[in-house]
Structure formats: C-alpha cells, structure tokens
Symmetry: C2
Subunit: 250 residues, 2 copies
C-alpha cells in the first residue's frame, strides 16, 4: 500500500498543476479530469488513468484542492492521455476559431448526444483538453474524442451556420436531400466573429436559426450547434423516413 | 467633476462588493453588471444605473478589479435595481430547482431569443441577478426580466420536458394543437433531478429530446430549453401556418 500524500512537492501533484497550462498539455499529450463524475466517465470510455488521486485516500484533501484548476474541491482527479478521433460520420461539427473552452466542451457534449461524428477543431479553437472544456463536456471528451483538421481536408457537404444564412435551419433537411448530401459537416465560428468569408464560400448551404426580432441578434455557438444538430438529427427526410430519426445517415 | 476613486474604502466599491452576496441583493433589490457589453445592454433596455464606474475614468483599474465577482477585469461596472416581469406570453419557461446560475442565465437568453414570454423561476432556482447568471444571460436579464411564481399560479398549458417524456419533442406541436393550447409553459428541472412527480402529473404533455443511444442520457437544462424553445417557435402548426414562424401565438 502507498501512504497518503502529505507534501505539496509530490510529483503527481506537480504534474497535475503543470497540466493546467496548454503548453504542458501539448508537450506531454496528457490532460486532467477533476471530479468523480468525470473520472467515472473516463473509466466508462475505457481510459486508463496515467495517475489518479482520491482525496482522503491517496492525498490530503487540502493538497488536492490546491492543484485544482477549477476550484471545485474535487474529491477525485485523474491524469489521462489525450485521444483524438478521425473526422467522419454522417453528421459532424467543424469549429473555426471558437476560443472559449466552455463553448468547445459544450459542443463536444451536444455532438455526443445528437450526432454520430466528432467535433473537428479547426484553427484557433480552445484546447478541448483544458480543464474548463473537459468539465463542460461532462465526459463526452472521453466518449467521443475531438478531431483536428482544416475544413478543406474533410469529406462531406459543408453546411455553415451563420446569422445571415440564406436558408432557415428548418429547411436544411430538404435542401440537403435535394443536393444528395449523404454526410454533413456543420460549420460554426465564434458568436462574435462568425465564419470567415472563404469558409462561407466553401459551404454548400448557409443556414440560420430564426430568432425573434425583439431578441438578441445571435445565439452563442454552443446553443446554435445544439439546435442545429437537433434539427439535422430529427428532420433530415431520409433519416426520418424509416422512423429511425436518430440514425442520421441519409 | 468628480475625482478618480483611489481608496478601497469608497462607498460605491463597498456596495458593489457586498452585492456579490445574495442576501445583500435581496435586501437592497439591487444587482451588479460587470463589463462594457452588459452595461450597454442595460442602457439599451432602459435601465438607469444606481451607480456606475469606468476603470481609468472614475476609479483606478486595480480597485475595480478587486470588487469583481467574476475576476474578468471588467472596465465598466453598473449597479442596477432588479426588475421582475409578470408571467405571460404565448410561450414561456418555468424552471424548478435549477440551482446553477450559469444555466439560469443561459435560459434567460434562450427565451429572449426564441419566445415571447419570460423565464418564470419556481422554488430553489439560482438568483437570476447573481453575477454568473447576469453574465450568462448576456444582457437578456435586462431586456426580458425573469418572473417569479409557482407553477399552479400560471395560466397556460404546462408542457414538461423530461428525459422520460411520453412524446418526442418534434411531435409536441401537433399535440398542442390537438388540445387547443393557445399558450404554453415549458417546464424544466435540473439535469440531475429532473422535475418532481407532482409537477409532471400537472403537465398536459411530457416531452423528451431524442438522444442517441450511444450518447449521454440527458442534456443540461440550458441546452434542453434552447432546443425545446426552438422547436415550439418553428413547428407549432398554427404559428407556422401563416408563414410567420416566429410569431409564436397560436
């Protein structure tokens, strides 16, 4: 048996603290999950921890709290090796310059709940293995690891979600059937900047979520992605025709 | 002209700091918005600040940073009087025991974007005027103030969103037309606990968002509310019949 860690100079504690920094995560290929729910999600997805600490069993609770990036007083912390998916799937998501880690994590979760493909991270996105992104994903970063690519490396029909999109989202299913799209890459940028012009030009369709005229003029990227993935999952004519609405593949 | 505040004992700074506490917000009926975007949203919605501070103009930036609840280094902070809406609208949202202020704020924003009624806060919800909720609302707390009531005080047809709901969300529009519902109250609980049994029993319909079998078994309350409000806005037959999909009122 190992003894309970009582020194802040313990090597595992130092590793966990260093992994708060993106540079250290990139250098080592490791990341940290804080909290019993996330540690359980990792195990359920077949991730073996490189190291793990449970407050009161392996380490004094106050020392574990000191290395928390989230200040959440997590009772369990695990260190894991990053995994990346290959792009693919009948429906996947491509994010361009979405810099907020909470939004990246929430989109990971929305994709896990509503489509079969991964979230593909393009340039200038937040690190999906940052503490905030991992927490916002609520474990989906383990169950459906993100991918990395540029849009022009992806197969499938690009559909850009944009506040000035030509079509209402509700009409996207028919339009996609009309162009014979059998796999769809839903593309989103940040709420503030949207998608760059060259990326919009490369999309087969540009669609918008209809918003009330007396409301905000955009949704944040996580809400917009969730609504669009729901719409694609439920309404694509071919997917709905056999009653298997969640099958997704047209 | 007033001079720049250089003392941490300044009364306005003390007020701002005290308003981080719910008890103080309840006692005074005031709340704080941090950041230029939120201060602008308040002005756009006709809120006159009880006090406001701009870093470098009214106050030393370091002093303003010290009273920030969000640690965001906001350059502008305003103190406002809370406003509450009356329940109503063709579509409104009722939250039961949603304790996370970020989720409450995000639902405020979703309702502002997608329906005409307010978010009605039932028992044990997070304070919508807490710093995190105000920030997550991105100004919608000003443009569409929340309401407070118990579900049995509300007019309209209660529709409960629940992971075990009888109907898929996509079928809610037809079902609502079938029962002649002319105003709808969408009811949600927290992701972990859902809605209590007596509230589910009081709902006219219980609906679920269809999720992939290989995904998480629920969505967080903000994502679920956003999807459901989108569905109700776009698909209710009477609202769609005249081509004015966002009119909402059946």
């Amino acid at each position: 048996m190992f003894s309970v860690i009582t020194s802040p100079h313990n090597q595992t504690l130092k590793t966990i603290r260093r992994l708060q920094r993106k540079r250290e995560r990139s250098r080592t290929g490791l990341f940290v999950a804080e909290g019993e729910d996330l540690v359980a999600a990792a195990a359920a997805a077949g991730f073996e921890p490189e190291a793990s600490l449970v407050a009161g069993e392996d380490v004094e609770p106050a020392l574990l709290a000191q290395v928390s990036a989230l200040g959440s007083g997590a009772r369990a912390v695990g260190v894991y090796r990053q995994r990346w998916s290959e792009p693919g799937g009948a429906v996947s998501v491509y994010l361009h310059a979405v810099g907020d880690p909470g939004n990246v994590g929430t989109v990971l979760r929305a994709a896990h709940a509503l489509c079969d493909g991964p979230v593909v991270l393009g340039p200038r996105c937040a690190d999906p293995f940052s503490p905030k992104a991992v927490r916002a994903s609520m474990g989906s970063v383990f169950a459906r690891p993100p991918a990395r690519a540029r849009l022009d490396e992806l197969a499938g029909t690009a559909v850009a979600l944009d506040r000035d999109g030509e079509l209402e989202l509700a009409d996207a299913g028919d339009a996609l059937a009309g162009v014979g799209a059998d796999s769809v890459v839903l593309c989103l940028g940040s709420e503030r900047d949207g998608l760059p012009r060259d990326l919009l030009a490369r999309a087969r369709l540009t669609v918008r979520v209809p918003l009330r005229p007396d409301g905000p003029d955009s949704l944040n990227v996580a809400m917009a992605a969730t609504v669009a993935l729901y719409e694609l999952a439920v309404r694509r004519p071919a997917a709905g025709a056999d009653g298997n609405r969640m099958a997704g593949r047209a």
